[in-house]
Symmetry: C2
Subunit: 124 residues, 2 copies
DNA sequence: CTGCGACCTGGAGTGCACTCCAGGTCAACT
DNA sequence: AGTTGACCTGGAGTGCACTCCAGGTCGCAG
């Protein structure tokens, strides 16, 4: 199993060292292994998981959402049922967000057409 | 031309009175008319414009983006060329955001399938 | 053995977008 | 005339998600 020094993990995930440590403190990903001297050693599993976190954050989920998700994953009392529900909930929320964005896009298109067309007139 | 008291403008735009005043202070929309006593009187033009602002904010544009847009609209030295460009730039950025979201959606779908399928096993 | 650079910690600081507050004004109702 | 409620102002406070910092440790190159 490949492992990564902090700098390399940072590079691969696109997060700063600080943010990586911050996420870890918040419990967003597993206890990272350490060398005897206390330096972090990230596994590729860690890196992959952080990749997912970044993805979800890009998708607009907040830190607390991710924490809840981790909570569900950790204490899987009664199987991972809760996890699926949580993910699906976010999935539909995401669809909502995309819909909103598309509305905004349409409005933008309208405005662009308006300004391109009626270039110099004052008001209608 | 219809006009609105602050409370009504708030209701119609979905923004709080505070936020409305905040946006006005930042110059995101025109100088609002006042009564002799200093109370604001919003025109329907104001309300419509704020609607657009809300839309763009929903779409992920920051306050500074909106300020730049207003700047372009106000001093139209050389026509509204800058405005169109700015809107189109944001349009393509929006497309990018939507793409990102779709990626996140796909990843989510994968995870959902994974957790629904391999419900109880430890690791692969 | 001395530097150097990468890393560690806890805690303070930052930027954004609001949101709240105290203290005051005004118009209308009773 | 007094009370109420919507509104005003400038400025302070909030929550989020980082980001920076001081002061310290470790391992290796020269």
């Amino acid at each position: 199993m490949t492992t990564y020094a902090p700098a390399e993990a940072s590079e691969r995930t696109g997060l700063s060292l600080d943010t990586l440590r911050y996420y870890e403190r918040l419990g967003l990903f597993g206890p990272v292994r350490r060398t005897s001297a206390g330096r972090r050693v990230y596994s590729d599993h860690d890196v992959a998981w952080v990749g997912l976190l970044v993805c979800l954050r890009n998708a607009g989920l907040g830190i607390s959402d991710l924490q809840r998700l981790m909570g569900r994953l950790r204490d899987r009392s009664g199987g991972p049922t809760g996890v699926v529900e949580l993910l699906e909930e976010h999935r539909s929320r995401l669809h909502g967000e995309i819909a909103k964005m598309n509305v905004a896009l349409d409005v933008l298109d309208d405005k662009i057409a308006h300004y391109r067309g009626a270039a110099d007139q004052s008001k209608k």
